[in-house]
Every structure is written in structure tokens, then in C-alpha cells.
């Protein structure tokens, strides 16, 4: 090997090494070094030839690369226009279908329910607003905002943020902060009222106690024996309300027994609910069993989604019932609309309004029961849903809704969405992590809800988890779209692929028998991909590790070697 000795004058240099020749040709050596080389090659024909050959090699490379001027592919020539046109088409269709879907949803479900609930005495509120907007988070808002308005606001906010983000170019963090602010502003109650919180194995509002304000009770056993001048929120295994509550009772309990006096409503999500006391207003029940004892009294209406319902007491107004087995033995001031498997009306029953029942079997009505009119019975039809044309219309609407949701997400978080889609190709990791987070997050969120501090976090997490169920399908849909139309990492072509993929995924998830399983696997898979993307975002060194090779690219050079005009250490 011929090393270069820098101390020697040019005419005494040994032959130049190839690296030095190349750096000289490329003008990467410092001036002094360059002059030495020039001086050397004047007297060394071999090195002169090498330098010339390398220079010709450089020219040949440049020429070869510049020649063969391939014309710009038509796909690229029309790229901008096509992208713009195609997105206009997708936007138009998706927004149109989404608007149709919202309208159809309102007229098909919300409006009839609202009408039924009006008849049932719920005073103009619809079921969703009862569920959501009359809860603790919505005090003061319920008369102002309806669910559709909020959905519209959030959708517009999403598009607005996406637009604003493109304008401001300050990154997704800014948009997310704003979006988070909007969500928090929408969820947080306008003014926090004074409230009392109690926790423990056994939690009690004593008989002689009088609490002004809302009460939050967390415990294995909860007893409300005193007076609460506000709402009562119960999270418990075994709860009894035997005192006086001037507001509503909202309960999440395995077993709830109400023997006291409730001036407001009961909204309960329990296994068993027994009422032997008085409820002045309405019941909204999502329970396994509901027993309204003969001593029990409900002044307003009952809306019930229960497996088994026994109504021996008095109800002042209408009943709206969905359940397997419904038994009526008490007095009902209004009418009954029921849907279930069986309906039994006993001898002691009194119903002052019309009765409509849709079920599998004809109702058993005692001849001694006092009814305003005979039961209007409709046998429930269980024809295959695939024979109904409306199913397909709804599928199209759902697909459009998914595409719309995907558009908002891809615009708000393009980087994150791309990463999630890329992670979906790591099948093993996505699947494994998907199972973990799909089942783990709700459990963790529910545990978090047990504490007051964690309640908001838990509810928010559950909300995000629920949205991720849909996002997961979008991620997998996008990947499927890429399989069909080719890869891309840019947002708009990716959205186009997402739209195609969503349609394919929706079709697959509606295949008879296999469809639900496909949907489950799609959700698990997509969930895992999202979780991987989140994990990588949180991983502190992943970005650097992705760019810098882990191995050194070159072993140390001899100390006298110069590269790029600088001596290497």
C-alpha cells in the first residue's frame, strides 16, 4: 500500500492512493494538499493517468444519469389536477352521504323515539339527551344543546382545525391541543356546584343528615338514609336509598333498592333494581331485572331496557319497555309500548291507555285485568336481515360515515395515521398488542373511574377507546386500500386508498356468519397498530434510532490518512 507522507515535497511522493485521487478530482482537499497533488502529478505519469481516468469516470457517471430523459409519466403530469378532482369527488360523495345518514338517522330513530318519549311524559327531551345531557356533566346545558348540535359542532370543529392547521402550519400538536380544549370545554360543566364525595367499604348518609348539593358515593355497600338536597350518584355493589332525595338518583350498582322518596328521576345501570318507595318523576333503566313492588310508586313514566321486568306497583304515566319477559300486575296511568318475548298482564293490573306489544308469543292477559283497550299484538318477524333493502342503504351510509371520520382523522393527524397504517403491516405485534389493549383499556378505565380524580380520566379513556374501535377499522381499511392500489405515504392518496379499503372491509364484515369474526379480527388488528403507533410516539429514542445506523460505518483509518482534506483521529 502506498501511503502519502505529507511532509515530503511533491516530487518525492509515492504514488497517490485512489481515495486521494478521487477527493482531488472532486475538489474536496484543502488548498495546500491540492497543490501538493498537482505538483506530484506533473512528474508522475501513472498518477496523472489515474486522475484522468477517475475524472472520466465521474463524467461518464454524470452523463449516464442525465441521459435517457424519461418523459414525465402521465400519472405525475396530471398528479395535482387528478388529486384535486378525486378529492372533490370523495368529499362531495362522503359529505352528501353523511348528511343523508344524519337526516335518515334523525327521521328514522330519533324523531319517533322523541315522539314516543313525549307521549311517555319525558317533556320534550329525547332519549339520547336524557342519557347524556341530563347527566352530571351537562347540568345547565340540557335545554340548550342537543346531541345532533354537538355532533355538528364537533365535526365542524374538526374540519376547522384541519383547515386552520394547514394554514398555520404549526403542526398537529397545536391542532390536538385545540381539539382537546374543545372537547374539555364541551364536557366540563359550566359551573361546578358544591358536592360531597364519600368513599369506603361502607358509605352512609345517616338518617339525621341533611346534605345540600350533589352527593357522590363510592363503596361496596352504600346506604342513603338521610336527606340529600341534590342529586345522588352511586357506584356500589349493594346500594339502598331509604332517605329523601330531592334530585335524581344515578346509580351504577349490582343491586339497588329504593325504599325512600325520590323527587326527581332514577337513571340506573344495575343488575337488579327494586323499588318499594316513591319516585316522583321518571325511571330510565338499563338493568337485568326490575321489580316495582306493589308498594312502589312512579309518578312519571318508565323507560326500561331490562331482561326481566315485574311491575306490581303504580306508574302514573306511560311505559316504554324492551325486555325478554315483561309482567304487569299494577296500575299504569298511561299506555304501554312493549317489545320482547313474552308479556303477561295479571288479574290485578289496571292500564288506562292503549297497549301495544311486539313479541314472539301472544300476550297472556288475565280476564280480570282492567284494560282501556285490548292488547294490540304484533308478532315479531325474524326474517334474515340480508333480505331487507334498507340494510344495504344503511351499509352505504355507514361506509360514508367511516370515510368521513377517516378524512377528519387523516387531516388532523396525518403523521400518526400514516404510522398506524404502517404498523398494521407488523401483523404479529399488532395482533398481540391489539388483544391486550382492546380488553385491557376498558378494565383499566373502569378501575380508574372508582376514584373521583380518575373519573374524568376513566370516562375520557373509555371515550377514546370507543372511538378507536372505529379508527381501527379505518387503519385496516387503509392498509387494504394500499394492497389494492399500491403503496403511498402521502395523506391524500392515502385517503383515497382508505375510502376504497373501507368499502372492502365493510363488505367483508357483513358476510353472513363470518362477518362478525372478521370485524373482530379487524378491530383487534387495527387497535394493535394504533397502540404501536402510540407506543413509538412515546418511546424517547425511537426517532434518532431510526435514522442513525447502529453500527459504525467505517473502522478507524490509519492516522496518516486524509479524508476530505482533514486528518482523521
Amino acid at each position: 500500500m502506498r501511503e502519502i507522507d505529507h511532509s515530503l515535497p511533491g516530487d518525492t511522493l509515492e504514488h497517490l492512493d485512489e481515495m486521494t485521487c478521487m477527493l482531488y478530482v472532486e475538489r474536496q482537499l484543502d488548498r495546500t494538499r491540492g497543490q501538493e497533488i498537482s505538483q506530484h502529478v506533473q512528474g508522475c505519469s501513472q498518477c496523472r493517468t489515474l486522475l484522468r481516468a477517475m475524472e472520466r469516470e465521474s463524467r461518464l457517471l454524470t452523463r449516464a444519469m442525465l441521459e435517457e430523459e424519461e418523459p414525465l409519466p402521465s400519472r405525475l403530469a396530471q398528479f395535482q389536477d387528478r388529486a384535486r378532482r378525486s378529492m372533490q369527488w370523495i368529499w362531495g360523495v362522503a359529505l352528501g352521504l353523511a348528511a343523508t345518514g344524519v337526516y335518515a338517522l334523525y327521521t328514522s330513530y330519533v324523531e319517533p323515539w322523541q315522539s314516543q318519549l313525549d307521549q311517555a311524559g319525558f317533556g320534550g327531551s329525547n332519549l339520547l339527551s336524557l342519557l347524556i345531557f341530563q347527566g352530571a356533566f351537562w347540568k345547565g346545558w340540557q335545554s340548550v344543546i342537543t346531541l345532533l348540535e354537538v355532533l355538528a359542532i364537533l365535526t365542524l370543529a374538526g374540519f376547522g382545525l384541519a383547515f386552520f392547521r394547514r394554514r398555520s402550519r404549526r403542526g398537529s400538536a397545536f391542532a390536538l391541543v385545540l381539539a382537546g380544549f374543545c372537547v374539555i370545554a364541551a364536557l366540563v360543566p359550566p359551573a361546578a356546584s358544591a358536592s360531597v364525595t364519600r368513599k369506603g367499604n361502607f358509605v352512609e348518609v345517616k338518617e339525621d343528615e341533611h346534605i345540600k348539593g350533589d352527593v357522590f358515593l363510592f363503596g361496596e355497600r352504600v346506604r342513603v338514609n338521610g336527606t340529600v338536597d341534590g342529586d345522588v350518584f352511586v357506584f356500589s355493589t349493594d346500594a339502598t336509598v331509604s332517605g329523601h332525595v330531592t334530585g335524581d338518583v344515578i346509580a351504577f350498582a349490582q343491586s339497588l333498592h329504593v325504599s325512600g322518596e325520590i323527587d326527581g328521576n332514577i337513571r340506573s345501570f344495575n343488575n337488579n333494581l327494586t323499588i318499594t318507595g316513591t319516585v316522583t318523576r321518571n325511571l330510565l333503566i338499563f338493568d337485568e331485572t326490575l321489580n316495582l313492588d306493589s308498594a312502589g310508586k312512579v309518578g312519571g313514566s318508565v323507560t326500561s331496557f331490562t331482561k326481566s321486568l315485574n311491575l306490581d306497583g303504580n306508574v302514573g304515566r306511560d311505559l316504554l319497555l324492551f325486555g325478554e319477559h315483561i309482567g304487569i300486575a299494577g296500575s299504569v296511568g298511561g299506555g304501554i309500548q312493549a317489545r320482547g318475548r313474552t308479556l303477561s298482564i295479571s288479574s290485578g293490573a289496571q292500564v288506562h291507555g292503549p297497549i301495544s306489544f311486539t313479541g314472539d308469543e301472544p300476550p297472556e292477559v288475565s280476564s280480570q285485568a282492567r284494560l282501556a283497550s285490548p292488547v294490540d299484538f304484533h308478532r315479531a318477524e325474524h326474517k334474515p336481515r340480508y333480505t331487507e333493502g334498507s340494510v344495504y342503504v344503511w351499509q352505504v351510509i355507514w361506509a360514508a360515515a367511516f370515510i368521513l371520520f377517516g378524512l377528519v382523522l387523516f387531516n388532523l393527524m396525518p403523521g400518526f395515521c400514516r404510522e398506524a397504517v404502517a404498523n398494521a403491516e407488523r401483523y404479529g405485534a399488532s395482533g398481540g398488542l391489539g388483544v391486550l389493549v382492546l380488553f385491557g383499556i376498558p378494565i383499566a378505565a373502569i378501575i380508574a373511574c372508582v376514584t373521583v380524580v380518575g373519573l374524568f380520566i376513566g370516562v375520557s379513556t373509555l371515550f377514546i377507546w370507543f372511538e378507536c374501535l372505529h379508527f381501527a377499522q379505518i387503519v385496516v381499511g387503509t392498509l387494504v386500500g394500499q394492497w389494492l392500489l399500491g403503496r403511498t405515504s402521502h395523506v391524500w392518496p392515502l385517503i383515497g386508498r382508505m375510502a376504497v379499503g373501507i368499502v372492502v372491509v365493510r363488505i367483508c364484515t357483513n358476510i353472513p356468519f363470518a362477518g362478525p369474526w372478521i370485524k373482530f379480527f379487524v378491530i383487534v388488528w387495527g387497535f394493535g397498530a394504533i397502540a404501536l403507533a402510540v407506543y413509538r410516539r412515546l418511546e424517547p429514542s425511537s426517532g434518532a434510532a431510526a435514522v442513525v445506523p447502529s453500527q459504525p460505518l467505517m473502522p478507524p483509518l490509519p492516522p496518516t490518512t486524509t479524508v476530505g482534506g482533514a486528518q482523521l483521529a
Binding site: H15, L23, S58, F79, W492, L553, P555
Partner: protein, 202 residues
């Protein structure tokens, strides 16, 4: 002694599109279209040389321009727009190759044989004399990703050693090594044997 470097991006004497860039930054769709029309061809050819397939090059070109739209605000207008655009393109292509794990581990190993030898100048001269541009292009397709990328960055888009180091994620001092190793690979692909392809005669 400097190799001839034709202007890859524009016709001779053409000035930097400062005004168009400024308008595009301000959101002018026409200016953006003009930028695209002017630079889509050169960038596509850059990608065509750097990436394995034509489809990859088409995808990459579109992605680079969409990325450009987002990054244009970061462009320092006191510097050459073409140089900056090539840097964006090089980063994107290399990132694309890296993500697909096309980079071969052996490329790292190759660098351990630091080429400090003196090849036979006449043999090299004959090789260069005999080979046509088309043969060189075919040979380029056979190179490893890093070697091809380095050659394209240097001899197509005239990027500096610093820019190449930045794009490839290597130290500046190693760029010469990468380029020389790439030349050796190329000579080998062109049919050179023995010392010329292996790094020179001992």
C-alpha cells in the same frame, strides 16, 4: 481538474425561482403548479435513479412534492432552492429505502475494506473508454441501495459531501469512502475483475 457539472435543474443561465417559491409559500396555487411543472421532471429522474422500480419513483415523486408543500415554509430563501429540493428528495428516498429494509447489512461490512490502493490507471481508463452510458445505467441498477444513492446524489444532483453525509446519516469523513466503494461496485457491475473492482492493485 474539477469534473464538469451540468446544471441538472434548469437550463443554463436560468435563475433560482425565488419569486415563484415566495408565492407558493404564500399559498398561491398557480405558483405551486409552476414549481411542480418545473421540478417534477428532474425530481422524478432523481428518484428513478435512486429507487429500484419506476413505480417507486412515481410514488416517491408525488410524496416528495406533497412533503414539499408542507415543508416549503421551512425553506431558507437565501439558499439555493434546487439544492434544498434535492436534499428533501434524497432524504425521502433514503428514508423509503431504509423503511423497506432494502439497505443491506453487507454494505456496512464493505466499508471495512477501506480502499487506499492504487488501481491500474490504464486498466481503469480502458474500462471507462469501453463502456457506454446505457451500460453504466444498467450497472447502476445492480448496485446496493447506499452505493447507488450516494452516486446519484453526487453525480446527478451535485450534492455536496456535507449534504450527502446528512442524507445518508453518516459522518462527513466517510462520504468519500462510500463514494469510492460505490465506484468499485459499479466497476464490478460493469465487468471489471480483480484489483480494479476490488479496490486497486496491491
Amino acid at each position: 481538474m474539477e469534473a464538469h457539472r451540468p446544471d441538472r435543474m434548469s437550463s443554463p443561465g436560468k435563475v433560482e425561482p425565488t419569486e415563484i417559491v415566495a408565492r407558493a409559500r404564500a399559498g398561491d396555487a398557480e405558483a405551486w403548479g409552476e414549481l411542480y411543472r418545473q421540478y417534477a421532471g428532474p425530481i422524478f429522474r432523481f428518484c428513478r435513479r435512486a429507487l429500484p422500480t419506476r413505480e417507486d419513483a412515481e410514488d416517491a415523486t408525488m410524496e416528495i412534492f406533497m412533503k414539499l408543500r408542507e415543508k416549503l415554509i421551512q425553506y431558507d430563501q437565501t439558499r439555493s432552492f434546487s439544492a434544498w429540493l434535492y436534499k428533501v428528495a434524497a432524504n425521502h428516498c433514503w428514508d423509503m429505502l431504509r423503511r423497506r429494509k432494502i439497505r443491506q447489512d453487507k454494505e456496512t461490512d464493505d466499508l471495512e475494506n477501506v480502499p487506499l490502493e492504487h488501481p491500474d490507471p490504464n486498466q481503469l481508463d480502458r474500462l471507462i473508454e469501453q463502456k457506454t452510458s446505457e451500460e453504466v445505467r444498467h450497472a447502476l441498477d445492480k448496485l446496493g441501495a447506499r452505493a447507488r444513492m450516494a452516486l446519484v446524489m453526487r453525480y446527478y444532483s451535485d450534492m455536496s459531501y456535507d449534504e450527502i453525509a446528512d442524507a445518508l446519516g453518516v459522518r462527513r469523513a466517510f462520504v468519500g469512502v462510500v463514494l469510492l466503494r460505490a465506484r468499485h461496485e459499479l466497476r464490478q457491475a460493469l465487468g471489471a475483475t480483480g484489483a480494479l473492482a476490488a479496490g486497486g492493485a496491491s
